[in-house]
């Protein structure tokens, strides 16, 4: 999924893009409203994150323009404006959520996952309950969630985590090397360090494995990569 992030402060923009890339999105960076509309028309993003107070065209007007032709694309506003009336204007213009500055990584991630989940479920209403099984784990890719069998607690997953599990499941019993994982789950144009993959896998194991020290879903094949061994 491609996300367009429009924010006039370069540091916030870069931090947000890093967060979204960690979540598994491809990012497009815009520094003002005009650039955001250009990117929207040329790059056709799947998701938009808009600051309100931006040079040239403000976030409200960007949202209004986009909503005239596309009623479905998820839009999240980021703003320093705290008043209820500002939030109401944003939501009435068709935004799906409104994040108030200052915010931390966890809040952005939680909200972006919630909106992505709603969007994916709405766009794939017939297949929303589809799942695949890895060991004792049922993975629901369109819900961005997993659930251990015979347990009610749900495990929240990012887009990237779903991609990793999906790749390992689709090519079960095969060794997937780090380059393949990087290309498939990060995209060919993103060049993260190799240890980024290992860190990501370690974090994912902590959440999906019964015993992360003796993994049953994502096993390491030393010197080669990772594998899901289906019984």
């Amino acid at each position: 999924m491609k996300i367009l992030v429009a924010e006039d402060d370069a540091n916030i923009l870069n931090a947000l893009c890093e967060i979204f890339e960690n979540e598994g999105f491809d990012t497009l960076k815009a520094r003002n409203g005009e650039q955001a509309l250009d990117f929207y028309n040329t790059e056709k993003p799947d998701f938009i994150c808009l600051d309100i107070m931006m040079p040239k065209i403000n976030g409200y007007d960007v949202c209004k323009t986009i909503r005239q032709t596309n009623a479905n694309i998820p839009i999240i506003f980021l703003s320093a404006k705290v008043e209820e009336s500002d939030r109401v204007i944003g939501l009435e213009l068709g935004a799906d959520d409104y994040i108030i500055k200052p915010f931390g990584v966890r809040e952005v991630v939680a909200r972006i996952r919630a909106v992505t989940r709603r969007y994916m479920q709405a766009s794939n209403a017939n297949t929303v309950d589809d799942f695949f099984v890895m060991d004792d784990l049922n993975v629901y890719p369109l819900r961005l969630k997993a659930r251990r069998m015979h347990q009610q607690d749900e495990i929240e997953l990012s887009l990237r985590e779903v991609k990793i599990l999906q790749l390992l499941f689709d090519r079960k019993n095969e060794v997937i090397d780090r380059d393949t994982l990087l290309d498939y789950c990060w995209g060919e144009h993103i060049m993260p360090e190799s240890r980024t993959v290992d860190q990501h896998i370690a974090n994912l194991r902590k959440r999906v494995e019964k015993d992360p020290k003796n993994p049953a879903i994502i096993t390491t094949v030393h010197g080669a990569g990772y594998r899901f061994s289906a019984v």
Binding site: N11, A15, P102
Partner: protein
């Protein structure tokens, strides 16, 4: 209704209309007839003609229109300065919140990157605490500046969960100061503006961290009686000196130097809490306490 708008309504619309139409004319004529009668009794005849009445009413209408115009101009000036103030606050809000957002985002990103380095995490923890403190101060200043323009968004909230969440956010700070957090919350659900109650609690609990860090505990209770929620925040610090108790809710009052020396703050936290609770049809009061300080929030 705004005082200016009321005057404008009366002087520009109501009085001139009454004077200009037949009712006003008749009323004044009747009054004048009585007046004439009274004068006739004294033997003087003022010779007031109908033309004179009309001229008098027109003059009065013009007079009231002028007065109304004055209030209209004053009102427009007031609206203009309010708009200017709102625009200024919005701009300041944006300017303060942008660096704060950067601080919070990059602290979180660093925490993820240095998750295995406990020494670095300790230092990042201090940065995080300081940015939280700055965030609290900025929120207070902005809310204080918004003053009466605050609009409430009441919703049904789990009060106990809200209190627990706010109290837990202080746990790292209290752990450092060996202050135990004691929670006894049994208020259940109530209609409340979450942001307002959070800000009030953050200020009250934050004051314990600032002024009662010598104490051993902070005790927070919540109860609901006859539809009213009562929340108390009690510490076992040095308490507020008797001569200061009457002034603690006044703006820019910060206790005596012994207590406040080296403690950050500008003395608007409690004033803001009182204003927020009043806007919420509630009260904030200082409760009598044998030791330490106890504030009670009722709404």
């Amino acid at each position: 209704m705004n005082k200016h708008l009321l005057f404008i309504l009366v002087f520009i619309i109501i009085i001139p209309i009454i004077l200009m139409n037949g009712i006003g004319y008749t009323l004044i004529q009747c009054a004048s007839d009585c007046f004439q009668g009274a004068l006739l009794n004294t033997g003087e005849n003022p010779d007031l003609s109908r033309f004179y009445y009309l001229a008098m009413m027109k003059a009065l209408s013009i007079y009231f229109l002028c007065v109304g115009g004055y209030f209209l101009i004053a009102h427009l000036r007031l609206v203009g300065s309010t708009k200017q103030k709102v625009s200024f606050i919005n701009q300041v809000s944006h300017e303060l919140k942008t660096p704060l957002t950067n601080l919070r985002l990059y602290i979180d990103l660093l925490k993820n990157e240095l998750a295995d380095d406990s020494n670095a995490l300790k230092k990042i923890g201090i940065l995080e605490q300081e940015s939280t403190r700055l965030d609290r101060l900025v929120r207070n200043i902005l809310l204080f500046s918004y003053g009466q323009r605050l609009t409430l968004n009441r919703q049904d909230e789990d009060i106990d969960a809200l209190i627990t969440r706010v109290a837990q956010s202080f746990r790292p700070l209290f752990d450092q100061q060996a202050i135990e957090i004691q929670l006894d919350c049994q208020a259940g659900h109530a209609s409340v503006d979450r942001g307002v109650l959070e800000q009030v609690l953050v200020n009250l609990i934050g004051n314990v961290e600032k002024y009662a860090s010598d104490g051993d505990f902070i005790n927070i209770t919540a109860r609901k009686k006859e539809g009213q929620v009562s929340i108390t925040v009690q510490d076992d610090g040095p308490g507020i000196p008797d001569h200061m108790k009457a002034h603690v809710f006044q703006p820019f009052v910060r206790g005596d130097d012994r207590l406040t020396e080296g403690v950050s703050g500008i003395g608007i936290g409690l004033t803001l809490c009182v204003n927020l609770m009043e806007a919420h049809n509630g009260v904030l009061r200082l409760k009598e306490s044998d030791h330490g300080t106890c504030f009670e929030v009722i709404f």
